[in-house]
């Protein structure tokens, strides 16, 4: 059986980035991209839902997936800092998503070999989706990076803005080791995917020595509280509300 906290960590990453993507629907450069952003958000929220449901059953304290997603506070969320970062425009949104997709590709591949059949099944499905997301976002990184002077400038700015939140994805703690997935071991494959796409996009890999951390311990940037306030407002105003 996986640890409850491990399932919540995986779920929190997905619900938070799903919410971030949801903010952008109707603001994308074109209708097709609105559909893409909505679809990717839906995949992430679906993964989160399956994980929260499992977590609730494992905890056996009567908490549903809604209670876990919409009834926990900022300090109880253990998502990585990257997914809670706001985006100032399409370049930053794509940068955040691309860097996260490349991470999730390796993560889900590893988790899909978990000895826990249910978690492995959720991961195997999520892996297929992550691969598809990455195909889309790496396409945009290349198209914008190797596009006009202005699109190149904005794509590079997006990568630069998100880069300092990538180191945390590969930090290892006891919970990871108990789950049998060491994030540090995922780094070489992530580096290789990211480097290959950045090179084709004529973008520079940032050389930022500062790497932020804390999300996995519930210590977040100022942005998560605002995101949760919006995401949880209906559930908190009308407790036990069901859609």
């Amino acid at each position: 059986m996986p640890e409850l906290a491990y399932l919540l960590r995986l779920a929190d990453d997905n619900v938070v980035i799903g919410q971030r993507l949801g903010e952008y629907i109707s603001r994308a450069p074109d209708l097709e991209e609105d559909l893409a952003v909505a679809n990717i958000a839906l995949d992430h929220i679906g993964v989160a839902q399956h994980l929260y449901t499992y977590a609730g059953e494992l905890e056996d304290a009567g908490r549903s997936e809604d209670d876990l997603a919409l009834g926990r506070t900022e300090r109880e969320f253990t998502n990585a800092l990257l997914v809670e970062q706001p985006h100032d425009g399409f370049g930053e949104l794509i940068a955040r998503q691309f860097l996260f997709d490349a991470y999730q590709m390796e993560l889900w591949d590893a988790v899909s070999r978990s000895s826990d059949e249910r978690l492995a099944g959720i991961a195997a499905k999520a892996l297929k989706e992550a691969r598809y997301h990455l195909r889309h976002t790496s396409g945009w990184v290349i198209r914008l990076g190797d596009g006009t002077e202005e699109s190149h400038r904005r794509m590079q700015a997006g990568i630069d803005a998100m880069w300092r939140f990538t180191g945390e994805l590969f930090e290892t703690d006891d919970l990871d080791l108990a789950a049998g997935v060491d994030p540090a071991s995922l780094r070489p494959a992530w580096d290789s995917t990211v480097d290959e796409v950045l090179a084709e996009a004529t973008l520079a890999r940032p050389d930022d020595p500062y790497q932020a951390t804390g999300g996995r311990r519930g210590v977040h940037s100022e942005h998560l509280g605002h995101l949760l306030a919006e995401m949880q407002s209906m559930h908190r105003t009308y407790p036990d509300l069901e859609w």
Partner: protein
Amino acid sequence: MVMTISVEELLAEVVDPEIPVLTIADLGVLRDVAVDDGAVTVTITPTYSGCPALGVIEEDIVSVLTGAGFDRVTVNTVYSPAWTTDWMTESARQKLNEYGIAPPTANEPVLCPQCSAGDTTVVSLFGSTACKALMVCGECGEPFDHFKAI
């Protein structure tokens, strides 16, 4: 044995609410049916993690079976092995094509469901539902959905 067949016949009425030409058996979403002393357990698997049709499918299964007199119906969701478009039956692929959706295929190119031409291009990797991409035919000019192969 007789009971199992009739339950499966009843479940043939349950379709994907987003692609109503396909039953859940056609799609490969229906994984198992067990009847034990009048109690029915139906096992399904989600197509995409966030597929909103799954909840509706669960409700439809319960409603069809209770409507036929089975008052003890349980719907289980299994995640492993993960659903793949390989589980879609050949008749399902034909039905999709006739409905105007190009069926999933690992072999390029995707054929236009209207005129069968192979000169098709992807307009958007993401379409009207989680399972489809938007494409256009270079021969007849018609836009169409392609069921993504996963």
